[in-house]
């Protein structure tokens, strides 16, 4: 299979072109999807190619427009509803949880809702309280949604195509700090399977389960750990619903140690779920208690030193690994946050 080097946003764009060429039922809607900024380039050129009937801006009505997407989906149309920040999804909670998630089941399987929701998670450059939230655990909690957090450009492209072909509501939570990551993606764009986790790095001393942008930080932490004689394995679930429990469990059973790093808060979150899976299915192999890292249990602050303290980073992941192994943290040449993101948004 031939490949192309693309940025994360470019890979999404290539997938959208591919999906819209292949199926006239696919359309893209959301605030700013037809403007010149083009959702960080991810929808660039779409309206020129496919026209305003299939690529259109919406009123600032997240709730109703979510219902509109559901109503269109019932008729075999395939909406891709884009939100430039996932925080805005709170406005659509009723339509998402009471309508989209329930529709098929509460009507006895008589209808399908092939809805795709793309939402971008913000971090750093002072995104603050309402431009920084990661909503994956909400959507994992309520049955009826599939949920993915693509990490690499190949994930972003492949899972978007999978989502478009899925006859159910799918959330794609993208991360703003991943938009500048470059990677090899299949050319032509190829669907990636839902429900498959990836081992991003093999190791024997401990397992770090990290998702989305936290994989970038975990990989950087792992490089540092390697220099200190610690061999970390990194597992990226990518797909949270369905969740590839086997890959996670087999890694934890191999290393006997688990740190879970999520882009969101820890309480009732992805890290809690994965820790519970480890307790249920690998308890007999755990050498030490499971550790969890996520956003601090506060609202996201803007001030840089506070923001740095709020989020997990390569440094805090490495510190946790040392602590878990009972070793003193060397505090020399420790990586800092990988991202050089300079905003503004």
């Amino acid at each position: 299979m031939s490949t192309k080097r693309l940025k994360y946003g470019e890979a999404i764009r290539a997938a959208l072109f591919h999906a819209m060429e292949a199926d006239p039922a696919v359309f893209v809607m959301g605030l700013g999807v037809d403007d010149h900024r083009a959702i960080f380039g991810s929808v660039k050129g779409l309206v020129e190619r496919f026209g305003p009937e299939r690529v259109f801006d919406t009123p600032i009505s997240e709730a109703a427009m979510t219902g509109v997407a559901v109503g269109a989906a019932l008729n075999g149309m395939k909406p891709i509803h884009v939100h430039i920040r996932s925080d805005f999804l709170y406005l659509a909670m009723d339509q998402l949880f009471n309508i989209a998630a329930k529709w098929r089941y509460m009507f006895g399987g008589s209808m399908k809702v092939p809805l795709v929701v793309r939402a971008v998670i913000g971090r750093s450059w002072g995104q603050g309280a309402q431009h920084s939230q990661s909503l994956q655990s909400f959507f994992m909690h309520v049955p009826g949604f599939k949920v993915v957090m693509p990490t690499t450009p190949a994930d972003a492209q492949g899972l978007l195509l999978a989502a478009v072909n899925e006859p159910n509501p799918v959330f794609i939570l993208e991360h703003r700090l991943l938009y500048d990551i470059v990677g090899d993606v299949p050319d032509p764009p190829t669907e990636a399977p839902l429900g498959k986790a990836y081992v991003r790095r093999s190791g024997k001393d401990l397992t770090i389960v990290a998702n989305s942008y936290m994989v970038v930080e975990a990989l950087k932490a792992a490089e540092f750990l390697e220099s200190q004689g610690i061999d970390a394995e990194i597992v990226d679930p990518v797909s949270l619903v369905p969740l590839d429990r086997e890959t996670i469990v087999s890694s934890v059973r191999k290393t006997g140690r688990l740190i879970v790093v999520d882009t969101s808060w820890t309480a009732c979150g992805v890290s809690a779920e994965i820790a519970a899976i480890a307790a249920e299915r690998a308890f007999d192999r755990l050498k030490v208690p499971v550790r969890r890292l996520g956003m601090q249990p506060t609202t996201c602050p803007v001030s840089k030193p506070l923001e740095n303290a709020f989020y997990p980073s390569a440094r805090t992941i490495a510190m946790e690994a040392f602590s878990m192994l009972g070793r003193a943290f060397p505090d020399i040449n420790v990586p800092v946050l990988s991202s050089t993101f300079k905003g503004p948004f």
């Binding site: 309508i99 009507f107 399987g109």
Partner: protein, 311 residues
Amino acid sequence: MLRIRLAEQRITEVYPTDKIQSPIHLSVGQEAIAAGVCAALLKTDHVHGTYRGHAFYLAKGGDMNRMFAELYGKDAGCARGKGGSMHLVDPEAGLMSCSAIVASTIPVATGDAFASSRQGRKRVVVSVFGDGAIDEGVFFESVNFAVLKKLPILYVLENNGYAIHSKIPERRKQVELWRAAEGLGLPGEKFDGNDVGAVYSVMAKAVAWVRKGGGPRLLEFTAYRWHEHVGPGIDFHEGYRRPNEQALAQKNDPLRLAKADLAKRCKVGPEHFEQWEAEARDEVDEAVEFAERSPFPTAERLHQDVFAERS
């Protein structure tokens, strides 16, 4: 109307036996709206309703047997026993949804109309909701989008005067509900929803207008809800209603008015009414019997239909 009235009366009789374990919201007294609205629609037109859904389900052509089976929680129900009274559905008949969250099907109906428009169908979509629903933000958001895109949708407001027990003037300064979205460009009108002939003729005109691409409209129909908000009881004695309301409700009984109208204008004799009533009773009897003898869903049904399988 007669079928709806007799079906719901039967529901109130069965309810104390606990065979129907689902909150019921009855439309007794409001039947003319469902009957008149749906009579003006084609089978291929779509209706999205509310938890007070029995009337629209039956009027749109939903199967009586499957409705009773649904109320009983049986596998043969229109939602396989998973929806109950508040989530009646029959896509074949064009009854697309009923939801227990106030106003929540208004956006979906709007999206359904969007699809009709984009797919070049001649389908008209009707979004049905109560007077409480226009307190919700999604009503205005949806209407704005429908007007903007000139969608083939009719917003039908069943105004029975109460959001549960809350009166309209307690919730709004501007109480002319038909005018609620004028500022968004949605023309509205108000009619007597007790007169089935009037409901039908208003609807027929509105449907023709929408079908030829005239864009959305709001039709407000007034009505009396005879029963309590939820449950089988009559609650005029509970004191939250206006003192003369029971008398007005009886005076404006849509079924009585329709019979009188038919007798006067069409010379329909009492023997016809008796025959229609006997037929409707037979249909209800059969539906109850069908529901009683149908099996409950088996345990493995619990996990089915969380997701659709990819074909």
